[in-house]
């Protein structure tokens, strides 16, 4: 293990600007951003809508739905549900759409000595 500030130079000789401009990489970048950005906006909007309701719509949130369980509690628990759902969705998306491309590009750059880094690789380098 080196101790200098920079990352080690396993890939020092690579022309990253060239890699960055390839179609494969641009596709990976697009796939990543087109998922995480809208998703981040969506869950943040839903979260702040909830906070605003709890803050300024106390009567609505206090409406009893079933026994002592009110709208506020249900919306709060739905925040848990949506968090779990988005987590699952993201994992399945990256396993299908991101990992294979990322592994492909990584393999090209680092040569084919790729055994330690994750399972997606073995599926791609036949």
């Amino acid at each position: 293990m080196g101790n200098d500030a920079h990352t080690p130079d396993a890939a020092a000789s690579v022309d990253f600007e060239q890699v960055q401009s390839t179609e494969r990489f641009q596709e990976l970048r697009k796939r990543h951003r087109s998922f995480v950005f809208p998703m981040a906006v969506a869950f943040l909007l839903w979260y702040f809508a909830y906070v605003l309701l709890a803050d300024y719509a106390v009567e609505f949130m206090s409406t009893k739905v079933w026994g002592n369980i009110n709208v506020g509690l249900i919306l709060g628990l739905l925040q848990f549900v949506s968090t779990f759902a988005i987590t699952g969705w993201y994992v399945s998306y990256s396993n299908r759409k991101l990992d294979p491309i990322a592994a492909e590009i990584r393999n090209e750059i680092e040569g084919h000595e790729f055994d330690k880094d994750g399972n997606a690789v073995s599926g791609v380098t036949k």
Partner: protein
């Protein structure tokens, strides 16, 4: 007092002190042995800071849960719900939803780009020195705020166990407990710390699960009747509705928004959470860790809802407030009510382990940041060898620990979750804009990073210093003085947007352009994992 008590009398606690302390002491001894065993393999800097990058995703995920579920989550949230009802639940939701920011935007990209610390990533394609120093300073400050909260929690807990209610006695408790915790970190390094976190996460979640089932069983597994009982004990139906704590005025409503913002944006900027992503071998394992920890943390926060209202119903807000340790004693008092001194001893030991593990994670992060970012990279300009760096890290642990103990003595009596929310606000202001910009905005420059980090950090701290948290109220840290001019107790709503704005402004006003090749390298590395740090073999 074995079996279900009919009411909690705090005076009873003193009679069982010996038993509590016995269970407690046993626990401390067992974890110490584990730390000693785990530390045998600490040879290199990668071992000490990143545990040789040898943990699996699920191990690391459990450790992240252990790191994240601090005294704030267990003692703080339970207490907040027990006293303030629904408004306390807000902490649980914010603390959980925040993980999506980490999962979607930060965790994997960061693992692919960095090495040990947050500064590694932030300074990757910008000017090393200024960015690294700024990132290290903000890491130290965030860790300090977080530590202060944990020390205050430890003080509350042990004071309750020993029945100490005077200020001097509690201060002494904080000193002893703090010293003990520093020992663990000095000996164990990241590997020892990680194991303590894993064990603690399992015990904490199991302990909370048992108490949750127990409380639910008392009410026939009917959440509605539990809530009804909480209303009855409190004598106030409003405990089920939002606004009991924050709905009093327009200012307090704004404060609630501010808290909500800080909670959801803070997690992905907490240096000790970010550092955990380096203990796994690949980005895929980093993703697995986050997923694993989201499930564990989410589950735990569902428990806190039952525990909080359970404490409100069975113990009662007045008893909690008057106990040594105040609002933070809700969970231990509930344990005492349910299972007598045995369960109290167990739960207190778990809570203590919780604090211990979090303190260890925080101090090691702060120490790594100082030794790696300031000492090795800036002071000795990369010439220091790894041994010296680890030596500096160990000394930093002592300094940070002493500062946190002193801070903890002043913060004693404040709700731990509230104090941690301040650390979240500082982290979200100082770090998050720069993390997001440098990962996703090609044009971002050094000037933008420096403006955003110092602007966010500075404004957050100044606003806290001049808020009712520090002075002006009976509940303030310095109750006698009044120099507060900022009305909100959480600065997030001002300092976080300000930091984003400064990052943008600093960049567009910067005439210098950053190295396009470095930007390309960072982007390719972050998305593909090319050249990422591999695991260390032993």
């Amino acid at each position: 007092m074995i079996g279900i008590a009919t009411a909690v009398d705090v005076a009873d606690l003193k009679e069982t002190t010996l038993l509590n302390m016995g269970i407690f002491g046993l626990f401390v001894a067992v974890t110490m042995v584990i730390v000693l065993r785990a530390s045998r393999n600490n040879k290199t800097a990668a071992d000490y800071y990143a545990a040789g990058r040898s943990f699996t995703g699920s191990q690391n995920g459990t450790a992240i849960a252990g790191d994240y579920l601090s005294a704030a989550s267990f003692l703080g949230i339970t207490g907040a719900i027990a006293i303030n009802g629904y408004d306390g639940f807000m902490y649980s939701i914010g603390f959980l939803v925040a993980w999506l920011v980490a999962l979607l935007l930060v965790a994997e990209l960061l693992r692919n780009t960095g090495k040990f610390t947050m500064a590694d990533v932030l300074s990757f394609r910008l000017k090393q020195r200024p960015v690294r120093i700024a990132a290290a300073i903000s890491t130290l400050v965030v860790c300090f705020f977080y530590l202060l909260a944990q020390m205050a929690g430890a003080g509350s807990l042990v004071s309750l166990l020993l029945g100490i209610s005077d200020w001097g006695g509690q201060a002494l408790v904080i000193i002893v407990v703090g010293a003990l915790m520093i020992m663990y970190v000095l000996i164990g390094g990241m590997k020892g710390t990680t194991w303590v976190q894993i064990i603690k996460a399992v015990l904490l979640i199991a302990g909370a699960a048992v108490m949750t089932l127990w409380v639910l069983a008392i009410y026939g597994f009917n959440l509605s009747s539990l809530l009804g009982a909480a209303v009855e004990t409190a004598g106030n139906p409003a405990v089920l509705n939002p606004g009991l704590q924050y709905g009093k005025s327009d200012t307090s409503k704004l404060d609630f928004m501010s808290l909500g913002l800080a909670l959801v944006l803070g997690t992905a900027a907490l240096p000790h959470v970010l550092m955990r992503f380096y203990t796994v071998p690949t980005a895929k394992e980093a993703r697995k860790s986050v997923v694993w920890s989201i499930w564990l943390i989410g589950l735990f926060y569902l428990f806190t809802l039952v525990l909080g209202y359970g404490a409100a119903a069975l113990v009662g807000a007045d008893t909690i407030k008057s106990a040594p340790g105040g609002v933070n004693s809700a969970a231990p008092l509930l344990a005492f009510f349910l299972g007598g001194p045995l369960l109290l001893g167990f739960i207190s030991a778990v809570a203590f382990a919780t604090i211990l593990a979090v303190v260890a994670g925080l101090t090691i992060t702060a120490a790594a940041s100082f030794a790696h970012d300031i000492y090795a990279s800036v002071i000795s300009k990369g010439k220091a060898d790894a041994d010296t760096e680890v030596k500096v890290a160990r000394r930093t642990v002592v300094v940070i620990g002493v500062m946190a103990i002193l801070g903890g003595i002043f913060a004693n009596g404040q709700n731990v979750a509230f104090l941690v929310a301040l650390a979240f606000a500082v982290a979200a202001s100082a770090n998050l804009p720069t993390i997001i910009y440098s990962l996703f905005w090609r044009r971002f420059t050094t000037q933008g990073a420096v403006w955003s980090m110092y602007g966010g950090l500075g404004s957050a701290i100044v606003l806290i210093a001049f808020s009712p948290v520090v002075s002006g109220l009976k509940t303030s840290m310095i109750p006698g003085a009044n120099f507060a001019f900022f009305p909100l107790s959480n600065p997030g709503i001002v300092s976080i947007p300000l930091a984003f704005l400064l990052g943008w402004l600093g960049t567009v006003l910067d005439k210098k352009r950053e190295d396009a090749a470095k930007q390309a390298e960072m982007e390719v590395r972050s998305l593909t994992g090319v050249g990422a740090e591999k695991a260390v073999d032993h």
